[in-house]
Amino acid sequence: MREIYLDNSATTQCFPEVAERMRRVLTEEYGNPSSMHHKGVEAEKIVSASRHTLAQILKVKDSEIIFTSCGTESDNLAIIGGALASCRRGKHLITTRIEHPAVLESMKYLESQGYEVTYLPVDKDGLVEPAAVEEAVRGDTILVSIMHTNNEIGAVEPVAEIGRRIKAKNPNTLFHVDAVQGFGKARIYPAKMGIDLLAVSAHKIHGPKGMGFLYKSQKVRLVNLIYGGGQQNGLRSGTENVAGIAGMAMAADMLYRDFDGETAKIRGLKNAFLEEVERFNEELTSKGEEPLIVNGRTGDDSAPHIISLTVPGVRAEVLLHALEDKGIYVSSGSACSSNRPHPSQTLQAIGLPRPYWDNTIRISLSGLNTKEDIAETAAALREIVPFLRRYTRH
């Protein structure tokens, strides 16, 4: 059976070129970057070159890239490390209700340590109102954390405007952006956008799992969360994951080399799918059946790769497994939530009616998908949805 992988916001297939590059680093250029001899120097060069590649993409300084083990670690280091470093200036933080658990749980930890956190609501499209952020910023606000792209509905937050407004109201407030879903899909220039900290994960951009980085403006001071040999200026001790670093940089480079073409392709697939949904909906309504609902914005102001689709009357988990039977992989809500049975924060926050929380799947695309993938998925939905609707729970 042909495999159609439409769960690219959970993780992506590693580019074979990236995997090959990593294999070479692991088996041939395997030195420890801290070693004095040639093998060490060779490895250090790989790390520096990778750092440079990533810095170029963000238009920042090489020294502003800190390698971490994942997006979650980057978020933790930014938020907890940032809050600890600024605790004498204040103990107030701001975030939104639709952040990834890496952010929300870090905030929860800080609350347990005596910090105060303001959680901002979002509108029906999952967007934060920049004016509301500005209003929430106070003299003692040390950090604002807002995601670039929401992982469940693909809302793209107005981070540039938010950054500007934060800095206008309190120049000392740090602005952290979780760009795990946005990096690779959007051009992000932290220095211009007033972003001080930016978290990225490698496996969402066809790189390896277990790898991420944090952009940290040179003006920002963080407290390290990991103690050890003092690598990366003491901010992230531990021998660098040289292969992972090389792989992440290569994957990022491949995505950004033909950024416009790549993004246009993915958005084209999304639009094609949305058209299929529309046609399917016409059929459904003409038969007097409830149409499918696409959550959030769908135009150029939305993420090019994420579609949140509510199928009233069909449980997401069942639809997911029925699609799986046809080799099509999607996610129910957000894949990270399958460990936790309670409903998605984002779907609640955008005001989706309660019965639909359990009826929503997420389709997330990558440049490796094709028009055929979209057509086959749409055809599968046409077949499965009416079937599953025949057997609903009473």
């Binding site: 988990e317 069942v318 639809l319 997911l320 497994h321 029925a322 699609l323 799986e324 039977d325 049975p341 499965i384 079937f387 025949r390 057997y391 729970r393 009473h394």
Partner: protein, 409 residues
């Protein structure tokens, strides 16, 4: 403390008369299976009407005792110190040293129970008792003598060697697996059925198991959960053959053709029918379910009767008189509870009606089952043909028969 051997106590095997050697052989067999993955070399003897594990090399005490504590038929495990036949003054020293190490702090009472099978030993049993008792009292101020109801019974056996033991680690009890034939467990991802399987296996019965899954309504993770449960039970019972039957088609057909409040009961009747077919093919002598009276609508006495009616094999329901709390207690003890409460949906719960019948009438159910006449037989055959068989042991599962052609919705 270094123990060179373990004395195995078994309660019930002792009373099985002429069949005793069969039971003992089964016990030794199960112990060998249990000890096989453990580090070290062991010899298992049956001597003096007892089973004895001799440790021939270094071994991990925790690993070995844990392995033995999973063998049904064992009621107690005594770690034994083996000594050469030494004079009484040396034996005094060794015993005192042993007691001091085994019971360093707690205030407890003890009694020495010496047996001198080797009559060449110059000191008589009663004297040995007195000598060793004194030595212990001198060495351990926290211990005192109570000859009527001691906390600690210090056993000293003087044979071709001297055996010293006092600790009894509890075993799971029951009878060694295999002496009681084989039965088919209807295993779900819930709390009850693994416990039911454990309890029947404890009576010496070997287990096969059948699981009904209903893709796309149930997931691969739900299946994995059941495999994990089977694996945890297999730590006691030895390898289990697990049958995985695709039940979707039957379930949807019942849903379409029969009243929804009877869905569960009719579904269960078909599960029992299929289980019995598999059981008979596998030469199982009965079915095992985790039912308990009144727990849910399908487990009222009336409902149980209606479900039972489709079977000719006896159906064993070891939890029938248990409260949920009692079942949970056992599931925690045997280590299945944490897996059982994982949230993946089982096929039993997919289409549950809001108010399922609690007093189904057999003739009504039978009449409604007639709505299924057209296709149900072929569906049952197809479901049985989907049978995927795996052998599950405590380290995981190995598929021995692949599923033939998945059913397409």
């Amino acid at each position: 403390m270094k123990y060179q051997a373990f004395l195995i106590k078994y309660a019930e095997i002792g009373i099985k008369g002429k069949n005793r050697h069969l039971f003992e052989e089964a016990l030794v067999r199960q112990m060998k299976i249990a000890l096989k993955p453990c580090e070290g070399d062991f010899a298992i003897h049956r001597t003096y009407g007892r089973v004895f594990v001799e440790c021939l090399s270094d071994y991990d005490y925790e690993e070995v005792t844990d392995a033995l504590q999973h063998v049904f038929g064992i009621s107690g495990i005594c770690p034994v110190v083996e000594l050469p036949v030494i004079p009484i003054d040396e034996l005094r020293e060794e015993t005192a040293r042993y007691m001091k190490e085994a019971y360093p702090y707690e205030k407890q009472t003890f009694k020495v129970h010496a047996r001198r099978m080797n009559k060449e030993y110059p000191v008589e049993s009663m004297e040995v008792n007195a000598e060793l008792g004194n030595a212990i009292l001198e060495a351990c101020p926290n211990l005192s003598v109570d000859v009527h109801d001691p906390d600690i019974m210090v056993n000293v056996e003087i044979r071709e060697k001297i055996y010293l033991y006092s600790i009894i680690l509890p075993g799971p009890g029951g009878l060694p697996v295999g002496v009681g034939g084989k039965a088919m467990l209807l295993l779900s991802g819930g709390i009850d059925s693994p416990v039911a399987g454990y309890m029947i296996a404890k009576r010496g019965v070997k287990l096969d198991a059948v699981y009904y899954n209903a893709p796309p309504y149930t997931s691969e993770r739900a299946l994995q959960k059941v495999v994990d449960l089977a694996s945890q039970v297999a730590a006691y019972t030895g390898p289990i053959w697990l049958h995985n039957i695709n039940f979707t088609e039957i379930q949807l057909y019942i849903y379409e053709k029969c009243p929804h409040d009877e869905l569960t009961i009719i579904m269960r009747r078909f599960m029992m029918r299929i289980a019995e077919r598999l059981a008979k093919e596998a030469e199982c002598l009965g079915l095992i379910t985790g039912e308990s009276i009144g727990q849910v609508a399908s487990q009222t006495l009336t409902a149980l009767g209606v479900t039972n009616e489709v079977c000719t094999l006896p159906v064993f329901r070891p939890l029938i008189g248990f409260d949920k709390e009692e079942i949970i207690k056992v599931s925690k003890k045997i280590g299945t509870y944490e897996t059982s409460i994982l949230p993946y949906e089982d096929c039993c719960t997919i289409f549950v009606a809001k108010h399922p019948v609690t007093k189904p009438k057999l003739d009504v159910i039978k009449r409604h089952e007639r709505n299924l006449e057209e296709k149900i037989d072929e569906m049952v055959e197809r479901a049985i043909a989907t049978d995927e068989i795996m052998i599950v042991d405590k380290n995981g599962a190995r598929i021995i028969k692949e599923r033939e052609g998945t059913l397409q919705v």
